[in-house]
Amino acid sequence: MPPAIEFRNLSFKTAQGRLLLDDFSLALEEGTVTAIIGRSGSGKTTLLRTVNRMVEPTDGQVLINGRDAQQADLIALRRGMGYVIQETGLFPHFTVERNVALVLEAEGRPRAERLGRSHDLLATVGLEPATFAMRHPHQLSGGQRQRVGLARALAADPPILLMDEPFGALDPLTRAEMQDMLRDLLARLKKTVLLVTHDLDEALYLGGRIVLLSDGRLVASMKPEEFMQSAQPEIVGYIGAFHRGERSAGGGRQVAGDGRA
């Protein structure tokens, strides 16, 4: 069976000539959770966005189940992938239940099916439908919004889930709660997950594989325990920098390890 996602010699250069991805190759097996870490500007988000073609690579290929993403129908490709971002991007004019089911609405599925699915998913992410379904996004807390964002990403039951710093804006307690919830959920759902994070602890907790990026290049791709025991200088350097950042940020995990080049 071909890998669920495969990057082949992927490069991306901005219009200004900055190389954000540099000959990046990696294969992700179906049903695995891969955490992509690295400093700000290392190309993590760009890499994630090549998968659903929000970014078109300037060189190389992305293969989804062995088929070139470039050749795929763009709308169908995107509907087959859940997408969760830090800012949530919830639609402020829709109720929570409509937000969650928007992909199904776009596919023209009947209303009863949409609402049923929406309520099931809300329950799955820990939001009581009777309480939350009819609310609007501005009536939710940050953690609740992120849960809705996750439910929305799962609506069409996509085999692939792309998550870009999903909990980056949350306070440490809410963040830990969300990580627990996501871990349970992923263990049950068996999705192929690509998770971009600047939090090493989050990567180790959720990821079955850790991928370290630096200046758009693949530095390491290994299991969490291998990663922590590695003597590779870049890895040791990254872990050290992360922990220093964590201490100077007073334990605030959110700031740590990033934005301090």
């Binding site: 929000m54 709308i75 169908a76 490709l77 776009a106 929305r152």
Partner: protein
């Protein structure tokens, strides 16, 4: 103003008010049909935004009396004064609607637009389910500005014989009869206020809490 004045002019005030409303309403309809799609197109081709909005801006700066004068000798248009008035008013209404449509859609939180794309919404679905609803109150604000402006400018249309409340004003000025001037000006002001309040309500109703 005495009751005699009203019995004499009441019917005329009503007819001219309706005429005024018709000129303005028709112009707003045309302007919306042109400026909203154009504004949407500009969000897809932002390179054109500056020249196109600039052109609408230039239209806006033409003095209204001159605009009516320019249109007068044109074939077909010049045949009927109402046509001239509607074309001129449409031209004045373009800018606020165009600018607000463009700015309203461009001003949507980029994260929302990004997710709408990433979820696999088609261009049309994005427009009708996300962008237009979120920009609606902005677009209506442009419509409101345009309407109020046009109700005022429409009084000048009487100068080319297009009718409307301006007719009473011009007649009043010519015969130095302030009552006639007021008989035209007050209903015109009232129309503007009502349009402003009505569209303002609609605008608030469409406003989305973030």
């Amino acid at each position: 103003m005495s009751t005699r004045f009203f019995t004499q002019y009441g019917g005329q005030i009503a007819t001219l008010s309706l005429e005024h409303l018709w000129l303005t309403g028709a112009a707003m309809l045309f302007a919306t049909m042109i400026a909203v799609p154009a504004g949407i197109w500009l969000t897809r081709a932002p390179g054109w935004a500056k020249p196109v909005i600039g052109a609408a801006n230039v239209l806006q700066t033409i003095p209204s009396l001159a605009m009516f004068g320019f249109l007068l000798p044109l074939p077909w248009l010049g045949d009927r004064a109402a046509r001239i008035a509607i074309v001129a008013l449409t031209a004045y209404a373009l800018l606020p609607i165009l600018r607000n449509t463009y700015a309203g859609i461009r001003g949507i939180d980029p994260a929302i637009v990004e997710v709408a794309r990433a979820l696999g919404l088609t261009g049309m679905q994005r427009l009708f389910k996300v962008e237009l609803p979120l920009a609606a109150s902005f677009i209506l604000a442009g419509l409101r500005t345009a309407t109020v402006t046009c109700v005022g400018i429409a009084t000048i249309a009487a100068a080319v014989g297009a009718g409307g409340l301006g007719e009473l004003i011009f007649r009043g000025v010519a015969s130095v009869d302030n009552r006639l001037v007021l008989a035209g000006a007050l209903p015109a002001a009232l129309l503007a206020l009502v349009a402003d309040a009505g569209l303002g309500l609609l605008e608030r109703w469409f406003k989305v809490s973030a």
